[in-house]
């Protein structure tokens, strides 16, 4: 297991994430794992008790997890949002923009590549789930 990259100050949740179905059945779970076919909106009524949402990317080309992440952030979720699975360094910047703040890749990242990925883009064209100011807003500041 590769190390988890975490861009949060709080303590990580120390128990395993459960499936969405189990989570909805169990009133005490605080960590859940979303698969690509799950509807992230099912979690919205329960955001208060959630501390960790893992979004699984079984294959890097399946982009549903990006929408799951934004759906949760737009609904006000502030806990840890962790991308797990086939998470590749070339997609980290996109994931960050969609609200992910932790990454648990199947294969260990090269530290330098991670740094380059996060530092590369000086500007962004869109408003998304992060705090970055889109180019259009800078143009009309």
């Amino acid at each position: 297991m590769a190390e988890t990259l975490r861009y949060r100050d709080d303590e990580p949740v120390d128990h395993p994430a459960v499936t969405v179905d189990s989570f909805l059945d169990q009133s005490n779970a605080t960590a859940v794992r979303i698969e690509p076919g799950d509807d992230a909106r099912d979690l919205i009524p329960h955001l208060e008790r959630l501390a960790l949402v893992e979004v699984n990317f079984p294959a890097f080309g399946d982009g549903r997890g990006y929408s799951s992440a934004r759906v949760l952030r737009e609904a006000g979720y502030e806990g840890e949002l962790r991308a797990v699975g086939d998470v590749l360094v070339d997609y980290l910047a996109y994931m960050r923009r969609c609200g992910f703040d932790a990454f648990e890749p199947d294969q260990q990242f090269d530290r330098d590549d991670v740094e380059a990925a996060f530092e590369r883009w000086p500007e962004v064209y869109q408003a998304a789930a992060d705090e970055r100011t889109p180019i259009w807003a800078k143009r009309h500041a």
Partner: protein, 544 residues
């Protein structure tokens, strides 16, 4: 024409460096081919039949002379002295080396060009009306809306791994010159009863193996909600588009399976939510972009006349120039369809010539048509003869716009690894046949489109006459289709019956045009006659 500011330039420059880094990691073995493929595709780099192929974006088909010169230089420096203009208004080079691609991209970036998102499962380069800003019949110039969406869709974080590719076209005219309803999203800029501009959204069209005409899902999205609405359309697709089967992954299948009504309901629900999320640029941004598309300094040319004493020139004027919104001007179409040539190919020298002509005669602007020709959008009538003489001398003066010789053809099995049959030789033989029999003229407008496989890059579903190349036990075979149209009278062509071999398909095309000349009533195009009399008389003539 749009000009980059420091932000646009920074984005393109950054992508060049990112791609340089990705290429390095691939060559060093840090990336597998499976990991690298989507990264290079999202920068337009394919591994094709003979070599790497690079597709360069020409946003909404508009470019200036400096850019066209640069495309020519790239053909000479990195390729084999030519390029191929495509049915999505882009250009592609067939002989690129991976190790040189980053330098090529850096050269492109110097002239505000790139290959970003010209392939891959993302929002592709946005196409538009090739006569935008010039057409006598347009409501407004559609390109500012296309540029707004270009910026929104570039490096969109949520939509970087869609179920499949996603193509958007924007027009602003009743006349559809961009095959708008055969796109994943077609946008028509319209006016409502209050006189305000808005966007009609057509979603779920496309060609490929399951051709569909996009239904209108919203007849009027206000301009200050355009990006938000597009975002809603894409989010529903990203979440629910099929990923279990590559051939059912386009949005047209989702819209079809859900039904347009249910898809629309989901989009509207998402849209209502997204309106509160602040994803929409202010209208001031659209205004800023619009200033780049203001009219050039047209002169008073109302007294311009055309000296028709040279009959070859007069023929070219009649066939290859179209009305302009300003008196005394026309849009002139440079045909890349010389009889016997390769549709859409231009040599570096021809690109340089076209660039110079644009600079001298068309306010420094050129357009790429989806029919694989080039437009000089704003030409004074008084300068047409000089312009035409140069075109003639350079093999660019074929007078055949929208005629049977003006064939759309994908690269086919001569270049493409997906193809099942060659397209180009069929196009060449048909053009040669009609040029030699002299029948071209009498046929009038007749749009013939050839694809070398079911993916339909050659738009065969939308041809008045379409040809689809298939592989029949290792032998090239060609199916004939009739009755398609990509225009405002959009329709999908139907297969006539069993296919033909290479020579047989040329004969078959001649046979159906003979049926047309026999059956047509006054003023009817081939398509009109087909629609009136139906398939049977054509089948009868073909198969007896």
């Amino acid at each position: 024409m749009y000009k980059y500011d420091q932000y646009d330039q920074a984005m393109v420059d950054t992508r060049v460096e990112e791609f340089r880094d990705q290429t390095r990691r691939r060559l060093e073995g840090k990336l597998t081919e499976a990991q690298f493929t989507p990264l290079r595709l999202k920068n337009g780099l394919y591994l094709q039949l003979h070599a790497y192929m690079l597709r360069v974006a020409i946003p909404y088909g508009t470019l200036d002379s400096r850019q066209m010169h640069a495309l020519a230089d790239i053909a000479d420096t990195y390729d084999r002295g030519y390029g191929h203009f495509t049915t999505r208004q882009n250009i592609q080079y067939n002989w690129i080396k991976l190790e040189e691609a980053p330098d090529l991209l850096a050269d492109l970036a110097k002239v505000e060009m790139h290959a970003i998102q010209t392939s891959g499962n993302c929002i592709r380069n946005i196409s538009s009306d090739h006569f935008a800003g010039a057409a006598a019949d347009e409501l407004v110039d559609p390109r500012p809306y296309a540029e707004l969406l270009r910026q929104w869709s570039s490096f969109h974080p949520e939509f970087n791994a869609l179920p499949r590719k996603f193509k958007i076209a924007v027009i602003a005219s009743e006349t559809d010159r961009a095959a708008m309803r055969l796109h994943d999203i077609g946008i028509n800029i319209v006016k409502n009863e209050a006189g305000e501009l808005g966007a009609a959204f057509y979603v779920g069209g496309g060609m490929g193996r399951t051709p569909m005409i996009a239904p209108c899902i919203n007849p009027f999205v206000p301009l200050d909600q355009l990006v938000t609405y597009a975002e809603a359309c894409l989010r529903v697709y990203n979440r629910y588009g099929r990923r279990d089967n590559k051939y059912k992954a386009r949005i047209k299948i989702l819209v079809h399976e859900l039904g347009a009504e249910e898809y629309t309901r989901q989009v509207e629900e998402e849209f209502a939510h997204l309106l509160g999320q602040g994803v929409e640029p202010p209208l001031a941004e659209l205004e800023r972009i619009r200033t780049y598309f203001e009219d050039p300094a047209f002169q008073d040319a109302s007294n311009d006349t055309i000296d028709r004493s040279d009959p070859d020139f007069a023929l070219w004027v009649d066939r290859n120039t179209v009305p302009h919104k300003r008196e005394g001007y026309v849009s002139a179409v440079i045909s890349l369809k010389p009889v016997g040539g390769i549709p859409g190919d231009a040599t570096a020298r021809q690109m340089h010539v076209m660039a110079e002509l644009a600079k001298s005669y068309s306010f420094d602007e050129l357009r790429v048509m989806h029919t694989q020709n080039i437009v000089l959008p704003h030409v004074r009538k008084a300068t047409l003869y000089t312009l035409w003489q140069t075109l003639e001398a350079e093999g660019l003066g074929s007078p055949n716009l929208d005629m049977i010789e003006d064939i759309i053809a994908c690269p086919g099995l001569d270049y493409c690894s997906l193809a099942n049959a060659r397209s180009i030789p069929v196009a060449q033989k048909i053009a040669e046949r009609f040029a030699s029999t002299g029948k071209t003229d009498a046929l009038g407008q007749l749009k013939l489109k050839i694809s070398g496989c079911i993916n339909a890059c050659g738009h065969h579903h939308a041809g008045h006459i379409g040809i689809l190349g298939v592989d029949r036990k290792g032998v090239e075979n060609y199916q004939l289709l009739l009755g398609g149209s990509e225009a405002e009278d959009v329709s999908l062509a139907k297969i006539t019956g069993p296919g033909f071999d290479e020579n047989g398909i040329v004969d078959a095309v001649e046979t159906v045009t003979d049926v047309y000349t026999r059956e047509r009533q006054d003023g009817e195009r081939f398509l009109d006659t087909y629609r009136r009399i139906g398939m049977d008389p054509f089948k009868e003539a073909l198969y007896g």
